[in-house]
Subunit: 336 residues, 4 copies
């Protein structure tokens, strides 16, 4: 939110709406270390938004002469929504990098190894395939999810709508100011303010839907292949978990954690979409606020899912002996 | 499914894997009128998939000499998944056209009318905005959702994976066959078979997430403006509903129906994603089957939501007198 | 809905509000075979509710002198909501009976057989347990879910609120009439009309939440034990499915179908709760209508899940040889 | 978790399985202040469960001679699941009390005031009802939700299953030990260990489904009546929020916060049910872990929703003048 206030002042200075030195003073004031966060939290409980107290602190910091230049033309939602886009952009970028890590680890697993591996459909032995085919499948999903996150990160818009979402409060140079804020924050300029037309939220949901699917599928398949009865893969000891009751056990902790995190995402996406599709008038009474915890949790848990998956595939060992034994076992069953 | 079997035979004939005249006979047999649908339904209950009986009927129809060329190299999932993509493509295309209709109607509502309209935030009177600003907001959402559906329709892949999803059963010319099937069905060639890496399902969910959000927001805002206490918009009599107990009432049936349909979508998307992210091994035991009803309902209900919204905005009348009265009322409250 | 109109007339006759013979004529008219269902559907599209045309048809059927006694004091929502409770009651009762069937089949599987079976935690071999312990676990869930459905079926309320949900339109004897309708339809009398306080919908969701959990858990565990790599259970040939590409396969169709159906329920429950918790004023503009498809799908798909599960456990065979082999295998691994 | 370990030791001492003084030493060690929580967190990341390190610390604390009596017969899941039930019980009890507060405030709003208030259905003016009828409706929901939470709090079970969920590890006196632990923790004795038959989780979801519905409905209706265009209710200044851009505004912060929190619950319930209905074998690989964040968030956000609602109804003022004006306005429209 501090970054947004600073970028807004800077963009307004660039078009001559506020003095350049005031914009610099505002930027200097926008430092988290100088903010009384507890006061912001207390004010949020009273006013329903974190921005009012934040702006008051900034105005006190820059002094009376410059106070009117802080948050000029803006409304709370502009600051909160744009800040959310910054976070969504960062989360997507970090997660894309970890998905790249996972792709690299997956590549290492098989290379072009075409050792036969029994295929299983509906849980039943089918015909042989290869580990390379399996890992290529995982890789294609990881690459597609990373690309979707990067496309998202490059398409998230600023929000400069003012009190009733039509941008009028920013004056006649609103388009230039919007472009200036977008450039400073590495966000894009939207077709219109989206205060109550929440397509950016839906796009975030859509990109993480891909992540949920890919992490879910890879983790599910890793766990299936690591089960004792299958035994073709295993997570190495550097991370694998013990048991409080059975000393001989080795648990696939990273894959389990990835799967558990991925399972949170569809519900969070549904909540986010219910909120995003229920905005009334020019600022929603509840639907907007309902987006906050769901978006927070989606970015946090989505990132956790990706991180655990990258950890898991990095720990995987292949048991080729067991792979061969299972192919033979399937063949024997088929003969019967 | 018949289209897929016909396209597969045709593509295999084009690369010389089956005789051209056999492919023509198969295409001729792939006519819904000739299929015993009840037998297909009964077999689906026994076998869990609709393809086995369908293929048997096709094989009987083309005769013993050609029977082996029907469904050659294919597995049930190839047919079901590719057929699902055809349906998803059609549904997206139809819905995009209706969203265009809605955009046109919305444009007609205000044009560049800048009559003041009171803005409302958190349900409370704020400052005036204009009807043109409100309809421009709706239009931008409708245009973005239509574009997302069209992008989806142009990106859905065929599925030719064979029994264990590695494409091996189609022989060495699998890439050409895949390209041929894709071209015939106006689908695209995926990076890899996606039998248990369900990114196309997640992409469908993502595009309809945008539709859910836009239809939900526009319908919510229409209903808010049509409420008796606001009264700035109304659905015209040609469609508006009566009441079984109160003869004087006029109900905004189309907007209500649009909103009710849009409210189904987040839950269906969550179900679809839970299923799509839980595929084990080379064909999922349950997660794949769980996609079917959710995908069906998503396409059907999503289309319904769009259709009702287009109907609603086509029926809208603006009460400019009431708009002015509400602006005055808000101003009076503000003075107090 | 016909049952509700008939019960209402009968209850009103019993307190002397309408003539007894008119109530009989209304009851006679409330016969589905005499209703023009297509006209009801067409009217629903116009008016947003199925009741208006239905009442008109009933009024025509009973003649001018009795017409005013049809639907007396009632509003569309009274009829639709009460009819929904009748359906919810029937669905719960039928599903409870099938859960009993499943319990019986599960009992037959193991009896008090304490043959060792290897326990698996986090997919890894743990220590031995017994088949009897596993089936007792399944049974306890099935019994608890059946009890929850029966408790639900015995607690669903009628709805007699009239146009604005306060019951006033039914006159001073509204409590007696409500009790009369409840008795005739085997529903209960609510504390208050619940037109926009949707606790009965939440209670339905809650009972089916138990069903979703139990069917999901049993089906998941059946499928795990039927996987080729485990092989301790199998669905018998009378129902098991073939494969369109692999003749040697036997697929656990019933368990797969049960699991796929159970996976639809959480999303439907979420949709239902989103709708049920968003009712505005005295009749919701959209949230009420949004309950209809979700409730319909919940009852239908929930029933399907239960039915397939009962079918699956009835088809199960135990492979005790394989159970013993897996115990030995786990023991061998442990020694290493 | 410390309470569970202490209760287990105490119950085992009561049946003579461990010395009474050792149980006392264990109970003394089970003090949060003495636990190295950071070490527990670090171990959880390695092992996937918080119990292993906790038990090690307790064993060190009680000394070598008593170490074997700590966590005797238990598995991590017993401790985690039972601890979750303690939390679920506390959360339900606290929330029920706040729902009582809300009922009391609602009662105060209207008493038996039968001043006419215009009823609104589908957003349209219908016929008059009374404020007393509206508040009675809210009260009935609040009372029913509180009762459901109290019933839940009185029915949550301990979990003593041991490594493979059959209770065998606790020895022949497992039933007495289970009863003893239940009594000490004010939980109930389940029919069977529920390690992978998650009906208690479904019951928690079901009770909070009622809360989600009631809080959602009351908050939605409060917000509708507080909208400027309606203006019949308002939140008093002691809590109402300002605006960062419009000084004249008064926002219904508590009702908005209640509604936003209630909107999180259906998605969390769906996630919890997806997890609860996907437990494989004797301890689930992921589905169990997926319950944790969803359950935590459900209890926390559910409690928040209830608390904000109680705050809102405590702040409500009624504008009877406006109520009368709206009745008159509706009557005037009707005459037209």
């Amino acid at each position: 939110m501090l970054d947004v206030e600073a970028a807004l002042a800077s963009a307004q200075a660039a078009v001559g709406e506020i003095p350049a030195d005031v914009a610099t003073r505002i930027a200097d004031a926008c430092t988290l270390a100088d903010i009384d966060v507890a006061a912001v939290a207390a004010s949020t409980e009273r006013s329903g938004v974190p921005v009012i107290e934040l702006v008051e602190q900034l105005r006190r910091a820059v002094g009376d002469d410059a106070a009117a230049c802080v948050h000029r033309g803006a409304t709370s939602q502009d600051i909160v929504d744009t800040a959310a886009m910054i976070l969504a952009c960062r989360a997507a970028t970090i997660a894309a990098t970890r998905l790249d890590d996972a792709s690299t680890s997956v590549d290492r697993l098989a290379g072009d190894d075409d050792t036969p591996m029994i295929g299983r459909t509906l849980g039943q032995y089918a015909v042989p395939t290869t580990l390379a085919a399996v890992t290529a499948r995982w890789r294609s999903g990881l690459v597609e999810a990373a690309a979707a996150l990067r496309e998202l990160a490059g398409s998230l818009p600023v929000q400069l709508g003012g009190p009733v979402g039509d941008g009028a409060s920013y004056g006649p140079r609103v388009d230039e100011i919007t472009a200036g804020v977008a450039a400073r924050l590495r966000l894009v300029v939207p077709a219109r303010p989206w205060s109550t037309m929440r397509t950016p939220i839906a796009r975030i949901a859509g990109a993480w839907a891909l992540v949920a699917t890919v992490v879910g599928d890879v983790a599910t398949q890793l766990l299936a292949l690591m089960a004792s009865d299958v035994g073709e893969l295993g997570e190495r000891a550097d991370g694998a978990g013990g048991s409080s009751s059975m000393a001989h056990k080795r648990n696939p902790v990273a894959a389990i954690s990835a799967r558990a995190a991925a399972m949170q995402l569809p519900g969070l996406i549904a909540t986010l979409l219910h909120a995003a599709g229920g905005h009334d008038f020019e600022r929603a009474a509840g639907a907007w606020h309902a987006e906050w915890p769901a978006l927070n949790a989606l970015l946090h848990t989505g990132g956790t899912a990706v991180d655990w998956l990258a950890t898991s595939v990095d720990r995987i060992d292949v048991d080729r002996e067991r792979m061969a034994a299972n192919v033979a076992r399937a063949e024997a069953e088929r003969q019967r």
